[in-house]
Symmetry: C2
Subunit: 276 residues, 2 copies
């Protein structure tokens, strides 16, 4: 088995393939402040779909809802292909952990669409921004003070970093950075799902105030197939994230991930709780 | 009971409130070419949540997956609050219709997050585009040739209309229009969910080619509470939609809806199948 921390985080045991029941455990490598990094949770929800014996095609869409704080320790995943058509398949996924009373409680829900894709006409209306190449951008230091999951990503910040002065003087919400798994790992759908959630909260940047926050729901659209992902290999992705609306305890974030060759691999949106 | 077609489309009978089971019927008023308008389907999925006796707060997020073509006639909805926290609640919703063999089959799935919202600091990083007011923009004629659902909306196209020449000469994918229910109806969460899906397919515009298409999944984030919706009343909304990536049979659309006063009410994304 691979020793890459992401592969370990995604490792599932198949307790009942007939019913789509899987078991796994929250990864300590990707621990965030009070629970695992949400991107890894999104990736593991997708992984259950990818390992399901009835899978048709590859992911087109994934929505993950973070229903409750995930604890350290084991979890159970139930992945169900609720509808299989000729070229598309619709999935529901639920992750449960034992509650205080020992009974399983839902901590994460997801839906996914997978599809057999055919080559068609294509175009991009979101060209990659002009930015310096990764080699010319300094890698962020995730040093000893950083939370664990940050060590699992190589981030090279181009613009819009975490404020160095929390003075309430923020005036925009856009971050641009090169990023990839650390150590480098060939891109696949699960890692792309996780990378879509790699941005620090837009409100920290917009408001220059480090308020508590938590992603409530994230939706990622995949614009590539497995062969196109293979072309990216372990190269850097350009990530761009912007806030759109900040209002009454929630803001949304739109994010895009391009390959270094300029191909838009994924577009992702999330809605995030914040506390004043 | 209201005689507005949307209220009729959203009318649900509560067959078992304890289990969250509802029944309804596909609306003929909102019929599209081969099934009901997807926006109405999204709205009815949300309506089951809104009418559930255990509802906490108001919608923050809604994802609807169109798993199979909906038929005319009755449907059953199962809305389940899978997790209720102090200020947020997570929902799964499934819509079923009788299949060819008479057995219920899943045709639509959804997840939603509802929340009690508090007043906080806020900001918008997506200001409303400068456009002429609704009174200065001609209403689209949905005439006798139009499909039924178009008659249920007042659309005033500002830019980016359905091509008049299908010559493959498209070069952008942005539409701007004023829109509201027809006849006018006070805005609520269900109608806002439906309005988020009111744009014709981006690929028709981008490619100037009328290819077959179908939305696979739509996610809408609500940036307002009920009181803020009430302020909008039956006024026009400015809608803007753009395609982002068109590739191998799917494209995504990002959409925004502002009140005429310039408040961003909802941001919505969808992924759409197209056939070459």
């Amino acid at each position: 088995m691979s020793t890459h921390p992401l592969d370990q985080a995604l490792a599932l045991a198949h307790s009942d393939l007939r019913t789509g029941l899987f078991t796994g455990a929250a990864s300590a490598d990707y621990w965030n402040m009070v629970g695992p990094f949400g991107g890894t949770t999104a990736a593991v929800m997708l992984q259950a779909v990818l390992e399901h014996p009835e899978l048709l095609g590859a992911p087109v869409s994934l929505t993950v809802n973070f229903a409750a704080a995930m604890e350290a320790g084991p979890f159970e995943l139930l992945a169900v292909p609720v509808r299989t058509n000729r070229s598309t398949q619709h999935w529901t996924v639920q992750m449960s952990q034992a509650g205080a009373d020992g009974k399983p409680q839902v901590v994460t829900t997801a839906t996914a669409v997978t599809a057999l894709r055919r080559e068609t006409w294509g175009a991009s209306d979101l060209p990659m921004p002009q930015v310096p190449p990764p080699v010319d951008v300094e890698r962020l230091d995730t040093g000893p003070a950083g939370v664990a999951w940050l060590k699992c990503y190589e981030m090279r910040l181009i613009s819009g970093g975490v404020p160095t002065r929390w003075d309430g003087g923020g005036d925009h919400s856009e971050t641009r950075m090169w990023l990839r798994d650390a150590p480098p790992r060939a891109l696949d759908f699960a890692s792309l799902a996780a990378l879509s959630d790699c941005f620090f909260p837009r409100i920290w940047l917009r408001r220059a105030k480090p308020v508590p926050f938590g992603t409530v729901s994230i939706t990622t659209y995949f614009h590539v197939d497995a062969a196109q992902l293979a072309e990216v290999g372990s190269g850097h992705l350009l990530g761009r994230a912007t806030g759109q609306q900040f209002s009454n305890g929630y803001f949304d974030q739109a994010a895009q991930l391009w390959s270094q060759a300029g191909r838009l691999l994924a577009t992702s949106n999330q809605i995030v709780y914040f506390k004043e």
